[in-house]
Chain length 334, copies 2
Amino acid sequence: MGTMSKVCLEDIRLAYQRIKLHVHRTPVITSQYFNEQSGRQLFFKAENLQKTGSFKARGACNCVLSIKERNPLVSGVVTHSSGNHGQATAYAARVAGLACTVVVPRGTSEVKADAIRSYGAELIYCEPTPLSRHETCAAVAAETRAAVVHPYDDYDTIAGQGTIALELLEQVPDLDAILVAVSGGGMISGIATAVNELRPECKVIAVEPDGKHLGPSLRAGRRLWLDPPRFISTLADGCTTQQCGRLTFPILCRLVEPTVLTVTDDQMAAATRRFWQRAKHVIEPSAGMVVAAALSDQLPAELRRVGVVLCGGNLDLDRLPWLSAGGAAPHALG
Amino acid sequence: MGTMSKVCLEDIRLAYQRIKLHVHRTPVITSQYFNEQSGRQLFFKAENLQKTGSFKARGACNCVLSIKERNPLVSGVVTHSSGNHGQATAYAARVAGLACTVVVPRGTSEVKADAIRSYGAELIYCEPTPLSRHETCAAVAAETRAAVVHPYDDYDTIAGQGTIALELLEQVPDLDAILVAVSGGGMISGIATAVNELRPECKVIAVEPDGKHLGPSLRAGRRLWLDPPRFISTLADGCTTQQCGRLTFPILCRLVEPTVLTVTDDQMAAATRRFWQRAKHVIEPSAGMVVAAALSDQLPAELRRVGVVLCGGNLDLDRLPWLSAGGAAPHALG
């Protein structure tokens, strides 16, 4: 707890200078309907409109451009990702003029695989386990001398994601809280780092899919997850990693509220559909998860002005979450 | 052809003053992807983000507020609509503090019916023919002394829709053309009236669903449609009225390009899906129809900077157009 974090606001400011020509300054959406439904003022940061359709473009661009700055002769980059980070790394490599290989687990939707290929990256399939992903990625790196772009457990990636908070606190300076989806923890680490220095009175609150069990580890200040690391089964396909990273977890323990908001598949499917219906924005289930948290009674009443990070808008439009979710009856969701 | 139109830019400016507190100044969306696909600069006017989810809020607010200005003691308003104009009139009546009855054809989706009720309006069902709609609406008006809010064939409605162009030409002053969906013709009449005075070199181009046959009438300068008026079968459920109005048609003949862009169901389903996928905005098939036109080779190559009015974003999210359209194979559409 006493250790200094290895990433600070200055790193995030430098990241912003590095990436700002290659990413969008995404708008903040407000909605009278959702304000009335939640009884708060909600400010939706629309990373679904970000380059490549998710916030991951920020971290990937910062990481890849930093790699190239440090080693202009690097041969290429490699990463592993179930989707959004893969697209983002492929995009970042194209921006940097580097070759890119993306390791994806078998079962990744064709829509996401095609999107990664569309940025010029090469795909390699592995088994759908965290171990296989890491091993395959390391093997490619060893063989091709490509640099690894970690999806979350890398200070450059974290600093890139932190630029979301730089923008959001300029767009809405007086927030009481920001709600952020957590998977490996890269986005929330970056956001919490920026918020802690820019507006320490603003709470950063983690939102997780049912089955992640972040809360006990966060409150204990140590990793209570069972090894080996596993993926959890959730509609939030951007949030399937159960354990936070070795670099991100200490940042969460230091800077994120100990109470975690947990969302079920049915709740996130309903909230995703409701956001499409009323706000007319396509968001993915991981973002709908955060919308559900913003509408939840679990959120303390004294938080009046709340930022809601809509992490992305990538999903298979032929398989909508509310048409595949277990018990979600359409007429109860509108 | 020599007759003066009964609506002019000044009416549209007055409409804007009347309604601006009650409607959104909608943003203009740009997309590198759609620019590359079309080979032009496209500027999407996002009326899907308008109050009630469609541009109809503009015309309805101007019409209802004008009625109340002229007759402060009016008992209420009544209209007939398959959906968007019904929601918009219900909203406008609530803004004006008036009772509202909406006549809807049997077969209107429950999603749209519920949306109309949610603004406090009463629904009355009629047969799904233009004649039955008019007769039922007239009967309600005679019985309750409510004023009729026509969906398109009313100069106040037309002036309200024209405010789209006031905003768009402020947001993007140097457009070569604006593409507008046509049903009864209220929106394109208002837009063409504003454009003709503000930027006469900008072409206003009609986009229609297959089966409407606007082109021959427009080029002949007279109504060649077969009576009685009928609805056409199209995915563009906001554009089912075959004949333009008695007030709108002469305005179209005077101010709209004689070449009409015609879009099939499969084309509009594909374009709607592609817009959701890439621009992350929920638009309805009538808006997807205009996106399809913007991507079409039918559009003259010299039109470089093109406004595309996304008329609305209301649809049943449990029945997506690309999952119900005849021959639209998902993988060909991405």
